[in-house]
């Protein structure tokens, strides 16, 4: 988690306006507030988590990204962050489009379904993968649309979404993803972090 926060924080310029979509208990918001910018908002679907955030004095709105991002004006945030939640939406493509409208830049992080540990479970055990990063069973997972780093990379190219930076994370090792190492990074990383723009 800490590594992911650091990477996200390094992608953000100081004193900019940030929206954290699916902000959970506000840990990333707090982290960014202390390190980067005071001007940060959150959107979260769970009442309990929204209350936790508000209790910490964080500005969070209870709402659903699929229906509630519309209310924000175009380009009203310098950065919109979607940390490990894209796979949980009914319609990830719509959400990405909404994020790109609301934010000048968008940071998306993806638990990589192409990671070799994940692949091995399906290959050898023949069961849906359960890992540290993806702890749910098939019958109770909130993750409706799992994808791989490569899937997201290809998605961006096919939709003409500009990738400014793409970073792979394995344990605490950080590396850049590019066209030539894409297959390898897709196999060897548990998390992908993308800075994109429409």
């Amino acid at each position: 988690m800490k590594e992911e926060f650091n990477i996200i924080s390094n992608l953000i310029e100081e004193n900019t306006r940030v929206l954290d979509v699916g902000c959970g208990n506000g840990d990333l918001m707090k982290f960014l507030q202390e390190n980067k910018t005071k001007d940060i908002r959150g959107l979260e679907i769970s009442k309990e988590k929204v209350q936790n955030c508000l209790s910490k004095g964080l500005t969070v709105i209870e709402g659903n990204a699929e229906s509630d991002l519309k209310q924000f004006p175009k380009s009203s945030f310098d950065y919109v962050i979607l940390s490990q939640t894209l796979q949980a939406f009914l319609n990830p493509e719509l959400v990405i489009n909404e994020l790109l409208k609301v934010g000048k830049k968008v940071i998306v992080t993806i638990p990589n379904f192409g990671y070799w540990r994940v692949r091995l479970q399906l290959l050898f055990k023949g069961t849906m993968p359960v890992t540290e990063n993806l702890p749910h069973e098939w019958y109770n997972t909130p993750n409706l649309h799992m994808c791989t780093i490569k899937d997201f990379y290809n998605f961006c190219s096919s939709k003409n979404i500009k990738i400014f930076k793409s970073i792979a994370l394995k344990k605490s090792r950080i590396s850049e993803i590019n066209k030539s190492n894409l297959n390898y990074k897709n196999l060897d990383s548990h998390l992908g972090i993308f800075l994109i723009e429409s």
Binding site: Q51, L54, G57
Partner: protein, 377 residues
């Protein structure tokens, strides 16, 4: 009602132009304060009361001898902690706890003003209370807070005075009274006016009181403050002090007895004409109309932070209406937080012991106060 108890009161000498076109001056505003104003005058919170509330937010209400209406929220070590904050609450104009209202005595006639009192609006109430803030020499409030009609005043206050509050917390309210809201208020008013003792609003001249009508108004309104689930759980079909139905029109059911009691205690503390005037003010409230149909424009000038709160079982001012405020604020990039609190207690949730509401509200106010203070340093 205006009983002879020493209420804190100021006389506003500045003329106040009302929305109805009339002008009032030299009129009283009754208020109460709790806690101490700090030397920087940075810890003041203005609380706005709802339809039947008054200035006695906390502690004992000296007139009714009952607990203050927001005792769960305001007081020592409460969510709005009076050890830390200076809390101000004024009786709205049109009210009957000492502020200028229909039960105020007209000095030239020695009689109550009655329905000669001008129609007032939420805007007028807020403008009158602003005079109190000026009198208290508070340049900027830390927060304006209120539920229901109090929430409407919060919205109107920020729209009228965009740089006078750092934080605004409208709770369980709306930016415009719906047809259903107006309908229930009209029911209450008709109940009062149908009482033969109302005498077109001049009942006090005849030493009368339309208490039956006012009690019915209160009973009907009280139902709208609860939820179906809450009512069912609390009362169900339970009988009142009897084992079987009596086959008559006495209060067989506990819910009947409860409503009758609510009606009867209300008439002892509230003036029927005030009920007419204040419900009218609520019905006339339509903030977006004041800004040519664009609610966002009401808040365009402000840097005030907002925190909007609604309750799941509130069908009088439902979450969807509270959310419209959030949407309007978001669409101009204002700083707004929002949560819908889970509660079975209906619209009244904001007045009651709803732990997740009290905790979230208290934590939010305290941490925001800290953040704002730290920033200043």
């Amino acid at each position: 009602m205006n009983k002879n108890i020493d209420t804190k009161k100021i006389i506003i000498s500045n003329p106040l132009k009302l929305d109805c076109g009339k002008e009032i001056n030299n009129f009283p505003i009754a208020y109460e304060t709790y806690g101490e104003l700090n030397s920087e005058k940075s810890n003041a919170i203005l609380v706005f009361h709802a339809l039947t509330g008054d200035q006695y937010v906390s502690g004992k209400n000296p007139i009714t001898n009952k607990d203050g209406w927001w005792n769960y929220v305001v007081g020592e070590n409460k969510p709005i902690d009076t050890n830390k904050f200076f809390v101000i609450c004024a009786n709205v104009i049109g009210g009957c706890m000492g502020s200028y209202g229909p039960s105020t005595i007209n000095e030239s006639t020695g009689k109550q003003i009655g329905t000669d009192f001008p129609i007032i609006t939420i805007n007028d109430m807020v403008n009158a209370q602003y005079e109190l803030i000026k009198y208290l020499e508070i340049e900027k409030l830390f927060a304006v807070v209120g539920g229901s009609m109090g929430g409407m005043q919060v919205l109107q206050f920020v729209a009228n005075f965009p740089d006078k509050a750092k934080l605004a917390i409208p709770i369980a309210c709306t930016s415009s009274h719906s047809a259903q809201n107006i309908a229930f208020n009209e029911l209450g008013r008709q109940a009062i006016m149908a009482d033969s003792k109302w005498e077109n609003g001049f009942y006090s001249n005849y030493k009368l009181n339309p208490d039956k009508g006012l009690a019915v108004a209160r009973m009907a309104a009280h139902i709208t403050y609860l939820s179906e689930k809450g009512l069912q759980e609390k009362f169900g079909r339970k009988l009142q002090d009897r084992d079987s139905l009596r086959y008559g029109f006495e209060a067989d059911f506990q819910i009947e007895s409860y409503l009758r009691y609510q009606g009867s205690v209300f008439v002892d503390r509230f003036d029927a004409n005030s009920y007419l005037y204040i419900t009218r003010a609520m019905d006339y409230f339509d903030l977006s109309k004041q800004y040519k149909g664009n609610l966002s424009d009401a808040f365009k000038e402000t840097k005030t932070k907002f925190f909007v709160i609604s309750f799941t079982s509130d069908w009088l001012y439902p979450t969807s209406e509270n959310r419209e405020i959030v949407i309007a604020l978001n669409s101009i990039g204002a700083d707004v937080g929002f949560v819908e609190i889970e509660s079975d207690k209906g619209h009244d949730s904001f007045l009651l012991d709803v732990p997740s509401f009290l905790k979230t509200l208290g934590d939010y106010i305290n941490s925001t106060y800290k953040v704002i203070n730290e920033r200043r340093i």
